[in-house]
Amino acid sequence: MSAIPRATREASSQTDAALLRIEALNVDFGPQRVVHDLNLELRAGEKFALVGESGSGKTVTALAILRLLQGATVRGRVLFQGQDLASMPERRLRGVRGRDIAMIFQEPMSALNPLQPVGQQIAESLELHEALSRKAAWARAVVLLERMGIADSARRVQSYPHQLSGGQRQRAMIAMALACKPRLLLADEPTTALDMSVRAQILALLDELQREEGLAVMLISHDLHLVRGFAQRVGVMQQGRLVEQGATAEVFAHAQHPYTQALLGSLPQRDVEPLAPRAPIVLHAERVSVAYAQRGSWLRRRLHKVVDQVSLELRAGETLGLVGESGCGKTSLAMALLGLQPMGEGCVSLDGVELAGLDSHGWRAARRRIQVVFQDPFSSLSPRRNVEQIVAEGLNIHEPALDQAACRVRVVDTLRDMGLDASILPRFPHEFSGGQRQRIALARALVLHPSVLVLDEPTSALDISVQQQILHLLIRLQREQGLAYLFITHDMAVIGAMAHRIAVMREGKILETGEALALLHHPQQPYTRQLIQAAGVTSS
C-alpha cells in the first residue's frame, strides 16, 4: 500500500477522499510493541468500527492518532486530510484536536470535570476553537444539549456532572465533542459503562448525528452486537495487529481470519439441558426486603428499600437468570440470600432448612450450601494467598478434621474439574489471566459442594472468547453436579444462553418471571421488551 506512487495517490484522493489514512503505525511502550504495522483508511462520513478484545491495541491506536499517548514511541504516518498528524508541530496539532477530530471516552464521569457545570465545559471548547464570546458559547451549549436529547436543556447546562445520570453525562460528552463540528469522531467504548437501554439510545443518537452532520465515526468496541447494527465497515484487531477489515455484513457472513471466526463463534449459544421433572427445591425465598439507612439526622433515619418483597425459588440443576439494569437491586438481593447483607424482612430456606431461626453455629454450617462467584476476577482473589490456600479455605473452615494431604486431594480434584492443572497450587493470583482467575474463584466456591451457586455477573469482566469458555464450564458443572445457579447479569445474550427461567427486576421488584425462551420471545412487560430490543438479541 505504501508503495503507491504519489501521482496515483493524489488521483485517488480526488475520487474518494480518504479523510484519515494511517500508514505503517507502530506503537511501542518500552520494549513492548502494542501496535504492529497498522494500515487503515477512513472516508469522510463513514462509520467504521474497530473491534477486539481488551489489550488488543484499539484504544492505543485511537490515542496515537491524536498523539495523546505518553511514554510511548509512535512511528508511522497518520494522514488527516492530507496532513501528517504524526510529524505536525504540537501547536498546530492542538488546533486539530477537538476542532477537526474529537474524542469521547468510556467513562463519562471521569472524563468530565466534576467542579464545572457541563455547560461551561461545552462552551470552553467553543470559546477556544471558534473564538465565540462567552454568552454566545453558552447559548450554543444549550442548543447542543437540546439536540442531544437532554430534556430541559436550558436548566441542565447549569448542572454539575454528578447531578446527571450516566446516559445524560455521555450525551453531554458527545455534545462537547461535537461542539466544533468535527470531521471525525473517535468514540472509545462510548456505551460500555451504560445500561442496556441507554446504550441503544446513545448509539441511535450517534447514528443520527453522523447522518445529519456527515461526520466520520470510528467506534471502538469489544461488543460485536453493537458494532453489527452501527458500522458500515469493521476492522478486527488482535494483539496489536489489524487482522481483518471489510464491510460489516461481509465480515459477519464470511470471516476470513481464524481470530475473527473465533470472535464471531463466541457469541453465546444456548446449550442447557431441560430441568428434570420434580427436581427438589433447594432455595426458597419469600418476601425478602433489603433496606439501607439513608443519610439523615441521627434520630430520624430514613430507610431506602432497594429490594422490595421479592419471592423466588430455585430447583436443583436449575439456572434462574436475574436480569435488570444497574441499581435495580439484583446484587443486594443476592447478598441478602448469601447472608452478607442484613435482610429487612422475609424468610429464606436452603435445602429445606429455615435460615432465620439458626444460631451462629448453624448459620456457618448452612453457609457451605450456598456459595458465590463475583464479577471482577481481579478483586475476588486475595493477592497474597496462593491458589492452594485460596481454594482450601472453605475446607479448613468447614472440615477441620481433614488433614493436609486429604485437603490437597480435594483441592486438586476441584481444580481439575475447572480445567486447571495441579501444578498451579503454589502460584499466586497475579500470575493468571482473567479467565483462569474466574476458574479459581469457581473452584473456591465449589470445593465445598454447595447446592446453590450465586453468580454475580461472572462473565462481564471477561473477554468474549473467554466468556464463552466459562459459560460452557458452568453448564458442564451444572450437568455433572446438579448445581442450582442464581445467575445475575445485565447481558441478555448471556442469560438467553444459560437460563432455564428468567426473572426481570426493576427498582427492587420482580416485574415478571417465566421460562427463558418464552420470556425472551414473548415478553409481557414493556420494560422487558425494551431490554431485549436494546440488547439486540435475535431469536436463535
Binding site: 457451605r368 486438586v412 503454589p426
Partner: protein, 357 residues
Amino acid sequence: MSTVPAALALRNDAPVLARSPARLAWTRFKSQHLGYVSLWIFGVLFGLSLLAPVLCNDKPLLVRYEGHWYMPLLHSYPETTFGGDFHTPTDYLDPLIRKHLSEDGNFALFPPVPYRYDTINYYAIQPNPAPPSAQNWLGTDDGGRDVLSRLVYGFRVSVLFALALTLSGTLLGVVMGAIQGYFAGRVDLTLQRVTEVWGAMPELYLLIIFASIFAPSFLLLLVLLSLFGWLGLSDYVRAEFLRNRQMDYVRAARALGANHWQIATRHILPNSLTPVLTFLPFRMSGAILALTSLDFLGLGVPPPTPSLGEMLAQAKGNLDAWWLSISVFITLVLTLLLLTFIGEALRTALDPRRELR
C-alpha cells in the same frame, strides 16, 4: 488414589514456581543497589555493635598467668591473682598488672579497643578531653572515657531502642487501625475521637514531667514514646482496612463462613501491610533521632549509659574538642542516611506499579 502422590510430589518444585508478592518485592528491593547495600552495611554495623562487649572492653578476653588460664570476661578476679596488692577486682589497664601479664610465659589477649563505655583512662598522658592518639583512636571525652567505645555502645543502645520502639509502635498502630477499619461505623467513629484526644496531649511536657517524677530509664522512655508512636500509623492501617474490607475476596471469605479473626488476619491484614512496611525504616530513624534529642536535652537515659545524644551535648560543651563533635556527627548522619536509603528502596520495591527489570 493415584492422585495423592502426584499432589504431594508438588512440594518439591514449589519454590521454583511460586512468585509470591513478597518474593517479588524482595527481588525488586535487591535490584535497588543503593538500598540493598545500605541494608547490608547497616546490618553489619548493628551486628558488630552487638558484639561490643568482645570488641570494646577493658577486660582481656583470655589471660594466661603462671600456668593458669583465666577468662576475665566471665569471672571477676581480684588483683592479687595477678600479683597485685589489693583484693579489689583487677584493673587490667594498670601498668603494674600489664607488666605482670607481659612477663615470660604469661599473656593477655585484649579486645581491639581496650576500653568499655564507662572505663576512665586514668593513665592518659594528655588532659581530658584528649585528642585522638594511639591509645584512644578517637580521643577521650571530658570524663576521660574512650570516644570510640562510647560510640559503639551508644549506637547499639540507639538501634536497640529504635527497634523496640518501632516494634511496639507498629504493633499498637496495626491493632488500633485494624479495629477501626475492620468494624468501621460506630466503633471507628468512637475510636477516631479517642485517638484525636490522645494525640492532642503534649508529648514533650509529659516526658519532662515523668522524667522529674521517676528516674529516667530505658524502659520508661520506651513506654512513654510507644504510647504516642502509634498514632500516625493507625490512620494508614485504618484506611487500608476500610478499603480492603469492601473487596470481593473478603466477601467471598464471609460467604465461606470465615469468622472475624480469620478474615481480618488472613485476608485483610496481609493486603494492608504495604504502608506499615514502607514506614519501618523511617520510623526507625525517627526513633533514633527522638532518643538522641531527648538525651541531648538531658531527659533521656540516665548518665552512665552511653548515648549519642549525651555525646552530642558533650561536644556542644567542648567545642574546641573537635573529635567529639565530628565523630558523633558522622555516626548519626551515617545511621540516618543508611536508614533513609533502605526506606526509599523499600518504598520502590513495594510499589506495585514498578515493573521488575
